[in-house]
């Protein structure tokens, strides 16, 4: 399964499942990161430990650890 952590900067994908626990899921949801949203990977920090993504007009930073919980598919 391809997750958000596997993408290169500049790639856009559609989220098909957020596996995270309730807290994190709600948190991501309040930023607009939920099933069926389109997200774009904008940037990585050194060693890909932190990932910056863009959902609609919002930019969000998350750890690779959390990005692994978000399953995506190509547009």
């Amino acid at each position: 399964m391809v997750t958000l952590a596997d993408l290169k900067a500049g790639e856009s994908v559609k989220i098909i499942n957020v596996k995270a626990d309730k807290d994190l899921k709600q948190r991501l949801g309040s930023f607009g990161v939920r099933k069926n949203s389109i997200v774009k990977v904008v940037n990585h920090s050194i060693a890909k430990s932190t990932i910056e993504i863009e959902v609609a007009t919002t930019k969000i930073a998350l750890r690779a650890q959390e990005a692994k919980e978000i399953e995506v598919e190509a547009l």
Binding site: A20, K22, D23, L24, K25, Q26, R27, L28, G29, S30, F31, G32, R34, K35, V42, N43, H44, S45, I46, A47, S49, T50, E52, V55, A56, T57, T58, K59, I60, A61, L62, R63, Q65, E66
Partner: protein
């Protein structure tokens, strides 16, 4: 006069504080929400015969229990008494912001949506039909721009107008799937003509959302038996349709869909050129290679500013308190009372006020980094590194602040949501040598390394402290604060020009908070230390010295005798007694009783270490770290290895009394303060011991 209580709610970075500032020029009152360390700001003013009070609730992305800020906002909205909600919405981020709006609609309170940052939205070619948005949400929408003050007057007018109307209830229309189930339940309630205080629709929604208290109440009603199968069937339909049995998730999805629909219908983009300044700036500031050096450079600049520029007013403040103390002695005399006021109270308060310039400049810098949006970039850059040590990207802010002063550093740890992350950060802030430790370092580095090398030694001291702190964090994470990491999900807001009025306000608030918190405790501690270092009085000893002083021929002899007396008095005081009694504890580190006493007085405040050493080496207490003769005395009296070990001890042990009290407040318990004391003291002891032994071996 009519009183109107208004709750200001919005997501972070939507310009809430700026809006409250442009609504009224009256001073913001800043305090804490009861029981938690979350800032509460409110403003009161009169408008057209109505007394309006606006409470600025902490920014929150949604009303879950994710962060303490969210909990505070949610609890306020649920339990407190208020007349109206003003929901501040970032017009350039409509869909995401409307998600919170949908949650607010459920409180069924009077609400006005303030579409903020309209100026920015216009620049980006966005056009929002606020009337239509108002129709969809069922609440008035007003376009404003806090930055240009456009529409702010209209908003206040609207608030007063709206408060005179009867409230018709908000409307949040769900998808047809949910609406159908609501209709079924409402129809049934109508048929039965059920007697309910709540609107049928609201009641139906609460039942569908599995609201516990509603179920409890309905359970005792006779119609419950008939109602139950209808609810069960409704829920089953929803489960089937949404492919999940989690009702919260279903309603979250519904609200997200509503927000999306509302944004789609009311937002028109003429050009919709997203202005990419932010991305351009980001391509430099969070560049893989240049990002961190740029950040370090900015930090270096801030520190230069804090300490170089800050030292100018510090000299004035110092001079002011010294003359004030002398003046006090002319009024209250040289006796016990005069000494208590001048040497105890005034000197103690002076020591706190002395650091005000540092704090003001540092907080100015931090506020600047925060309001421009750079702070989250820093967290983005550094999280990978900090996470390795069991810390969080956001730990960086309090840790860096710790180099200035531990008091604000402890205060700024509030940004961390997870208790464990916050506690670890709080525990290691002391390792970041604060400004007050600097005089001790300067004294010892100057005495033992000479002026050429002193700068490098100072730098090394700071770096070693920080590294030890990171190691301590890792140890705490592995052995003490075990458990799940706080997820790192953070908005990277657009870069924005800061509002200097807002920054000024933040700085003033923080400065006052510092003065109030540290001031009261430092005052108490200074009086206590004064007492411990002046009593019990040995009249015989004083008498014998006084005769000697009177007999002294030259002024020089007189001064040296006076200094001898001071030393003898301190030796005989409670402090001296304690110092001598505890000397064996510190003997393995190479400290004599004088260094021990200096360390113990240093618990009150680190700058006291230097003045205590001054007294104990019989130079009088009018010495500072730059004093040549004190450096000379120290070099003569303290072996090199002991000095190294002393520096390490000062580096690690408890910052000061004021900081300790703030720590206890921010960590939530005095129990943690006891842990902190044991933890830092034992680490300091062990490290100093090792440093002492190694230096001895190398010499």
């Amino acid at each position: 006069m009519k009183q109107l209580n208004i709750a200001l709610v919005g997501q972070p970075n939507v310009g809430k504080s700026m809006l409250i500032n442009s609504i009224s020029d009256s001073r913001l009152r800043v305090g804490n929400f009861s029981g938690v360390t979350v800032e509460k700001a409110e403003v009161s003013f009169d408008f057209h015969g109505v007394s309006i009070r606006i409470i600025d609730l902490p920014g929150t992305y949604s009303l879950n229990d994710y962060t303490q800020d969210e909990r505070v906002t949610k609890e306020f909205l649920e339990n407190e008494d208020y007349d109206m909600i003003i929901n501040v919405v970032d017009a350039t981020n409509l869909e995401r912001n409307l998600f919170l709006t949908t949650q607010l609609l459920e409180f069924n309170k009077k609400m006005i949506v303030a579409l903020n940052m309209m100026d920015e939205a216009k620049k980006e070619g966005m056009c929002i039909n606020e009337e239509q948005l108002g129709n969809i949400l069922g609440v008035p929408c007003v376009k404003v721009s806090a930055a240009t003050k456009q529409g702010v007057g209209k908003l206040v007018n609207r608030i007063v107008d709206f408060s005179n109307f009867d409230f018709e209830g908000t409307k949040l229309i769900y998808s047809e799937v949910v609406e159908e189930e609501i209709r079924n339940i409402v129809e049934f309630l109508e048929e039965k003509n059920f007697d309910s205080k709540l609107d049928y629709r609201v009641l139906a929604l609460k039942l569908l959302q599995e609201d516990k208290s509603t179920y409890k109440k309905m359970h005792d009603e006779p119609i419950w038996i008939e109602l139950l199968p209808i609810i069960r069937e409704a829920l089953n339909h929803l489960y089937l349709h949404y492919n999940t049995k989690n009702i919260d998730e279903i309603f979250d999805e519904e609200k997200a869909a509503f927000a999306k629909g509302a944004a789609l219908e009311t937002l028109e983009c003429s050009t919709c050129k997203s202005i990419n300044t932010t991305e351009k700036v980001d391509s430099v500031l969070i560049h893989k290679i240049f990002g961190i050096p740029i950040f370090l450079f900015l930090m270096w600049g801030l520190f230069q500013l804090t300490f170089e520029v800050g030292s100018i007013p510090m000299d004035w403040i110092d001079a002011f308190f010294i003359s004030l103390g002398e003046y006090a002695k002319t009024i209250f005399g040289d006796g016990a009372l005069g000494s208590l006021i001048a040497d105890g109270a005034i000197a103690g308060v002076g020591a706190v006020v002395l650091f005000l310039p540092n704090i003001v400049i540092l907080f100015f810098g931090i506020a600047l980094l925060e309001t421009t949006g750079y702070m989250s970039r820093v967290a983005f850059l550094l999280d990978g590194f900090f996470h390795k040590f069991g810390l969080h990207g956001k730990s960086f802010i309090p840790l860096v602040t710790g180099f200035g002063c531990s008091v604000p550093a402890y205060m700024s740890a509030r940004t961390l949501k997870n208790d464990k992350d916050r506690l670890i950060t709080l525990f290691i802030i002391g390792f970041m040598s604060c400004g007050a430790k600097l005089p001790v370092y300067v004294l010892f580095a100057g005495a033992f390394f000479g002026p050429e090398k002193a700068g490098n030694v100072l730098f090394a001291i700071y770096i070693i402290g920080a590294i030890l702190g990171l190691i301590a964090a890792k140890i705490l994470k592995v052995f003490v604060f075990k458990g799940k990491d706080e997820p790192f999900v953070m908005e990277m807001p657009k870069y924005r020009m800061p509002s200097f009025k807002l920054i000024w306000h933040t700085v003033v608030t923080k400065a006052l908070m510092y003065l109030k918190k540290a001031g009261t405790f430092i005052l108490a501690a200074s009086v206590l230390i004064w007492f411990a270092s002046n009593y019990p009085k040995n009249e015989e000893l004083i008498g014998s010295f006084e005769t000697k002083i009177q007999l002294a021929v030259s002024d020089e002899e007189k001064t040296s005798l006076e200094n001898e007396l001071k030393k003898a008095k301190l030796e005989a005081s409670y402090l001296g007694i304690v110092g001598k009694a505890t000397e064996p504890l510190f003997a393995p580190l190479g400290f004599d009783w004088r260094m021990t006493v200096a360390l113990e007085t240093g618990l009150a405040a680190k700058e006291v270490v230097v003045s205590t050493l001054g007294v104990l080496y019989a130079l009088g207490d009018e010495v500072d770290e730059g004093n040549g003769s004190l450096m000379e005395e120290i070099r003569k009296n303290i072996p090199f290895a002991s000095a190294v070990s002393f520096i390490f001890f000062v580096m690690i042990y408890l910052p000061c009394f004021a900081a300790s009290i703030v720590f206890a407040k921010e960590s939530g318990s005095y129990k943690y303060l006891a842990y902190l004391f044991v933890f830092t003291t034992s680490v300091a002891w062990i490290i100093s011991f090792i440093a002492y032994r190694i230096t001895l071996m190398l010499l």
